[in-house]
Symmetry: C2
Amino acid sequence: MLDHVPEKSDIIDATRRISGYVHHTPMLTSGQINHIAGCSLYFKCENFQKIGAFKARGAVNATLSLREDQRKNGIATHSSGNHAQALAYAGSIVGVKSYIVMPANAPKIKIEAVRGYGAEIIFCEPTLESRESSLQKVVEDTSAFFIHPYNNYSVIAGQATSAFEIFQVKNDLDYVITPVGGGGLLSGTLLSRNYFSPGTKVIAGEPSGADDAYRSLIEGRILPSINPDTIADGLLTSLGDKTFKIMHENIEEIIVVSDAEIIDAMKLLWERMKIIVEPSGAVPFAALLRKKENFKGKQVGIILSGGNVDLKKNYFNM
Amino acid sequence: MLDHVPEKSDIIDATRRISGYVHHTPMLTSGQINHIAGCSLYFKCENFQKIGAFKARGAVNATLSLREDQRKNGIATHSSGNHAQALAYAGSIVGVKSYIVMPANAPKIKIEAVRGYGAEIIFCEPTLESRESSLQKVVEDTSAFFIHPYNNYSVIAGQATSAFEIFQVKNDLDYVITPVGGGGLLSGTLLSRNYFSPGTKVIAGEPSGADDAYRSLIEGRILPSINPDTIADGLLTSLGDKTFKIMHENIEEIIVVSDAEIIDAMKLLWERMKIIVEPSGAVPFAALLRKKENFKGKQVGIILSGGNVDLKKNYFNM
């Protein structure tokens, strides 16, 4: 497990380590979408990733980076979202038990998906305090190794492999845009940019109902995400000290978008590209559309971070 | 324009003719779906095709096959669905006017898509009689060349290119399954199978609410589709004499599925593969799931014929 900001070689190592367990996701383009956006877009499809989101990269990299004696009692985390599935999947790969603390009100479909990988679920109250105390108890009881969803250098190195794959085939992009929640994907992307495509600017999209990263960067310190309220349910968390430091030192800009803009962007992706992208995954494209004029004629990579949606919800008729 | 059942060389010619105007669509696989289905599935993604459906293949092939003097006054058809967009697209490619007869109650989104390609739309009543008489008037007034949605050998040769692409990379499939509406895709697939992968069995899926092809094959003559009622709105039409003859001589089996089975199959594709498939496009997968035991351990190609859906409809919460 890395104890330092991932270096170039750590990201290359992570790519090798996780290959065979995660997909080298395709990069798709669409003439229709380029026409609407007024620029050339390259969509990195992490919605097609194992467990339906980029989180598989970080969880698998961190789990495979543990020594045998570190992981022999299992791995643990708290998450109601994609990291829960990702860690359960990672545990199934190495054949160790995974303990996932989830709020009791998590969607049934996510609970079943986590169980599907053979994880043990520990239910808690839907508060950060309850999550953390439940996790602490699990770790004390089982000696499982805690893998944080984003504030962990091996997780960050894993998430960095998505942008690394982009730069391997396309290293003349003007911009790459990612979403930002806890900052794992964003900080990994920033590091990959520094090492593999220094001429590319990295921008993040963030929902206005959970704009703690935007405000934190202005203040120069981590402001917590308090009562976040957005349709982009993968981006509710606060930043960590490790992700914040990397972001603070490297990022160009955060573009804040409304839920209505997220839904419009998501609808375009579903309708024109015929692919399912979750609200959080549509945030970077929404950010681009909001500041279209800034990207006119440019080449822009966009990480579609995930595709796990509740199909019973009708996002487009609300 | 072909005046005979497409031969092997006609399908190869069609593939060359349309390349550059239509996509060589990807073939996708999914471990999760294979697990559910109990066999190895190869999904040919015509939902990613130009205009969002395989219909672009036939319309472009037919239009490009016309002599200059045949198409100089434009091209015409009647369709409320994907063939309308496909022919409008084909007209835009060769730079001739397209006249599309559409029922006045066609979905606004489809009307706009057809207009987006610069076609002239002629509205009619939502009956077959009105469609045909309106079309006849258009052809008399403009001398445009009528291109039938399916009962046309050049259209059939165009639709055959999808299965040809499958067999170019995978010629040891046990089965290929397509949907059947008017029979253009199915008869093209049967011909490609005969020429390029004779060991493969071809099966069609058909909705129970529009099972005229199933009944026609039993009777040995074309029975019209009367008051069809199914969520698979691309499969409402009756067979043509050209498509029926090819089907009658070559097909293995038609599997009839209910609307509930179509929605279940569609949900699996959206949820697990993160791709948008329209109800008609999910019919072959629904057919496979209905007779799962027949396909156990087999290699099966499935043509996902299109991805044009109305996202305001909530298919999964009805």
